[in-house]
């Protein structure tokens, strides 16, 4: 159980980068961007293709980020210059990316134009590279002894290297996001999502800011895709299906539990939300009568519940408040009436 959960947390931390990207569009820019389903795979496909061709995994990951940025900018251009509705712009880009992703993966093989997947079984990844550095440090052995002897667990994770490196990466991204959203450009992007008319009257080009925001968001999504491909050692054309909903689920769960008081707190909530989502996912998979393919349905239900329950709670609270108030007033009036009888 411990080891299974451990894997979920590792993945959750990687998916948190994608969730931060979704937060940037969905919450900050107020732009429901469906490009995510495509750009996640674009990141995975670009990184996997380059690694398969023998490039350094770090270079491959950087290229994946650039590819995601370009994809996001395209969605932004469709919306701002093409005047296409935000949802439709994202859907169009997502569909277009499906074909593009197959082509990107096709570049890794000499005899094929398109490929539906790339396995990375024995390839060098960011994680395998870091692992060789990590095992020299001897932290794993120490922790394994500690968990087995002191905490009494039978099994321990094979390595702590992966969780260490993904946590560092994700936290760096989180802090960069916090800083960026407080810079002049960041403030302008936030105002674009909040009040377009106002920010235009302060000489900001809202079209440019939307394109930039979508680009950065999808760069993060593609980054996450590139890391997931290296983590699970394959890239697949269908690995992005439903990714936007997973991102939304992470954002909504995180915000509901940890609140949105400041930017610092909100981005932390989003990261935590992504990890919690993965844990729920892992628990659901352990239920006997559920199949892996039911997960999309479960994700949809989680998002619906996370959206609806807060409304119901608010309504209930409001109703109780009203009822209390009404009873108080009725009591007062009864009191008055009794007083009236006296007088009469």
């Amino acid at each position: 159980m411990f080891t299974a959960m451990f894997g979920s947390v590792e993945q959750g931390i990687i998916y948190a980068i994608m969730a931060l990207g979704v937060y940037l569009t969905f919450r900050v820019l107020d732009f429901p961007d469906l490009t995510v389903d495509g750009s996640f795979v674009t990141g995975a496909a670009t990184a996997a293709m380059m690694i398969a061709l023998g490039y350094h995994p770090i270079l491959a990951t950087l290229m994946a980020i650039v590819a995601g940025f370009i994809a996001g900018c395209m969605t932004g251009l469709l919306h701002t210059k093409g005047k296409i509705n935000p949802l439709l712009s994202g859907i169009l880009m997502m569909i277009a990316l499906y074909s593009i992703n197959l082509r990107i993966m096709g570049l890794s093989a000499e005899n094929a134009i398109v490929k539906p997947n790339i396995p990375l079984m024995n390839a060098d990844t960011i994680f395998s590279q870091f692992q060789s550095f990590w095992s020299n440090l001897g932290v794993d052995d120490a922790l394994e002894n500690f968990i087995k002897n002191s905490l009494g667990f039978q099994t321990a994770p094979n390595t702590w290297g992966t969780i260490f490196v993904v946590l560092i990466i994700t936290l760096i991204i989180k802090f960069i996001a916090d800083w960026f959203l407080k810079t002049e450009v960041g403030l302008a992007i936030r105002a674009t999502g909040d009040n377009k008319r106002m920010i235009r009257s302060f000489s900001a080009n809202t079209d440019g800011l939307i394109v930039l925001g979508l680009g950065l968001s999808n760069a993060l999504v593609a980054f996450s895709g590139a890391l997931i491909a290296q983590y699970s050692k394959f890239a697949d054309a269908n690995m992005g299906i439903g990714m936007i909903v997973i991102g939304l689920a992470s954002v909504i769960i995180g915000e509901a539990i940890f609140g949105t008081k400041t930017i610092f707190r909100t981005t932390l909530a989003v990261v935590a939300g992504a990890i919690i989502y993965r844990i729920i996912y892992a628990i659901a998979l352990r239920i006997d009568w559920l199949d892996t393919s039911d997960m999309k349905l479960i994700t949809a239900i989680i998002v619906v519940l996370a959206l609806v329950i807060p409304q119901l709670v608010d309504k209930r609270r409001e109703k109780l408040r009203k009822e209390k108030r009404r009873n108080e007033r009725l009591d007062q009036q009864r009191e008055l009436l009794r007083g009236g009888d006296h007088l009469a």
Binding site: F180, K182, T183, E184, V185, G186, L187, A188, R190, A191, D194, N195, R197, M198, I199, R200, S201, F202, S203, A204, N205, T206
Partner: protein, 265 residues
């Protein structure tokens, strides 16, 4: 400072709803001029403001600010020169951002936005002294979200944000009309104070004749897309509401439909 030459605008052209919104408008503002604009609904006041701000472009005619022709310049580029306060108190500020963040956005109006911190230490002091001028105690609520402020407070903040970077032109579009009388009074007083302090070239649209007479050194009256009356510095100080009414009748040969204008909503 500001020049409008031969501005024409037709709405819904070539449809049954065709309407001439602006009919050959010519207007010239010298630096430091404060012009109030009155006129009935549909006279073209707001359309003219939108021509200057760049939210609309004229069918023909030219807009010049500080000697630069800006007729074709998009709204966001033009707003380097222009401060604006809208009628709707919600329109001029970003509700989910804090007071200091809103001020920082306004502060970057005429500089290129970069990766500098929006609210640095030096700026915070400047924001504080600027807010103190409003006398509303907002300087103690720096980190409050603007959405939590009242309409009057938001409008005062909008006014400060529009003026504290010393824009070449200040446009006020019925910015007190949506407030209750005491709040409107406050905003009017602040308007006067901030415009005088910055010696700002200002255009103010209002429905309230008394306000139009009290504020500014010039007054223009618009009707059916034209400027039908222009009162200059010399005559403005002695102007009264009956003067304006009789002028209108003389020019248009009909009584002014002015319940709203008189009562000053």
């Amino acid at each position: 400072m500001l020049k409008l030459e031969g501005i024409n605008k037709i709405f819904n052209e070539a449809t049954p709803d065709e309407k001439i919104a602006l009919d050959n408008i010519n207007l010239h503002l010298a630096p430091g001029d404060f012009v109030t604009i009155i006129g009935s609904n549909g006279a073209g006041k707001s359309t003219m403001m939108n021509m200057i701000s760049g939210a609309l472009t004229p069918d023909f005619g030219a807009v010049t600010i500080e000697g630069n022709e800006v007729t074709k310049l998009p709204e966001y580029k033009r707003s380097q020169y222009i401060g604006r306060v809208f009628q709707d108190p919600m329109a001029g500020t970003a509700p989910s951002m804090t007071i200091e963040e809103n001020l920082a956005i306004a502060y970057s109006r005429n500089t290129k936005r970069g990766l500098r911190k929006g609210v640095g230490r030096g700026r915070r002091d400047f924001f504080k002294t600027s807010l103190e001028k409003l006398g509303l105690g907002l300087e103690n609520r720096f980190n409050a979200k603007v959405g939590m402020l009242s309409g009057g407070e938001r409008q005062a903040l909008s006014l400060l944000m529009a003026t504290f970077t010393k824009p070449s032109i200040l446009l006020l579009d019925e910015h007190t009309a949506a407030l209750d009388p005491s709040r409107a009074e406050l905003i009017t007083r602040l308007t006067k104070q901030l415009v005088e302090e910055g010696n700002l070239t200002t255009l103010m649209v209002t429905h309230n004749m008394q306000q139009a007479i009290d504020l500014g050194n010039r007054l223009i009256m618009m009707d059916k897309g034209q400027i039908i009356l222009s009162i200059d510095d010399a005559k403005k100080p002695t102007l009264t509401i009956p003067d304006l009414m009789s002028e209108f009748e003389k020019i248009r040969g009909e009584k002014m439909n002015s319940d709203r204008a008189l009562l000053g909503s």
